[in-house]
């Protein structure tokens, strides 16, 4: 089960509000 990471924090927060879920934001600097 791959994670569908969102790249927009505000979009994630809005989706969380609509679905009643928490948001996990991973701030990272991993090699691209």
């Amino acid at each position: 089960m791959a994670i569908s990471w969102i790249k927009d924090v505000d979009q994630a927060l809005a989706e969380a509000k609509a679905r009643g879920k928490a948001v996990l934001v991973d701030f990272n600097a991993a090699p691209m």
């Binding site: 089960m1 791959a2 994670i3 569908s4 990471w5 969102i6 790249k7 927009d8 924090v9 979009q11 994630a12 927060l13 989706e15 969380a16 509000k17 679905r19 009643g20 879920k21 928490a22 948001v23 996990l24 934001v25 991973d26 701030f27 990272n28 600097a29 991993a30 691209m32």
Partner: protein, 146 residues
């Protein structure tokens, strides 16, 4: 790990090179930093640095437990904190979870929960900072209790 995150969170990943202003907006100064918000956009937990998978899941479960606690859902919070202790007993999150499980139970109306938790710390995680914090509960100190 993937299933747990997918089932419990809306996941977002922000890269320093792509979105430096988002780092600035949320005051993130190191990577990796994980920030957990509840559904009402309130930040409930933040932790920095790499963690092995078991520790990372424990921290995320702890975040959900703290969210329940902050919302006054004492029974749900206690269950979630105890789940952290039981499922991830060797992580740093476990001692913190044991402490807050006791507080949740106390807040839920069990006046003996704090002393019971202090006794538990004599058996589990006796050298943790959370055991020191709970040590006051072995004596009556109601002024310190919220």
């Amino acid at each position: 790990m993937e299933r747990f995150i997918g089932e419990n969170f809306i996941p977002a990943k922000i890269h320093i090179k792509e979105q430096p202003k988002t780092f600035e907006r949320f005051g993130v100064q190191w990577t990796p930093t994980f920030v957990i918000f509840d559904a009402d956009r309130k930040e409930r937990r933040r932790f920095e640095g790499f963690l092995p998978a078991d520790d990372l899941i424990a921290q995320l479960e702890l975040a959900l437990a703290h969210t329940a606690f902050a919302q006054g859902r004492w029974a749900d919070a206690e269950r979630r904190f105890r789940d952290v202790v039981n499922a991830h007993p060797r992580t740093e999150a476990a001692a913190e979870a044991l402490y807050w499980a006791g507080v949740s139970r106390y807040k839920g109306g069990d006046p003996g929960a704090l002393a019971e938790t202090a006794r538990s710390f004599k058996e589990q995680y006796p050298d943790s900072s959370w055991a020191k914090k709970a040590s006051v509960w072995t004596t009556e100190a109601p002024a310190n209790r919220g």
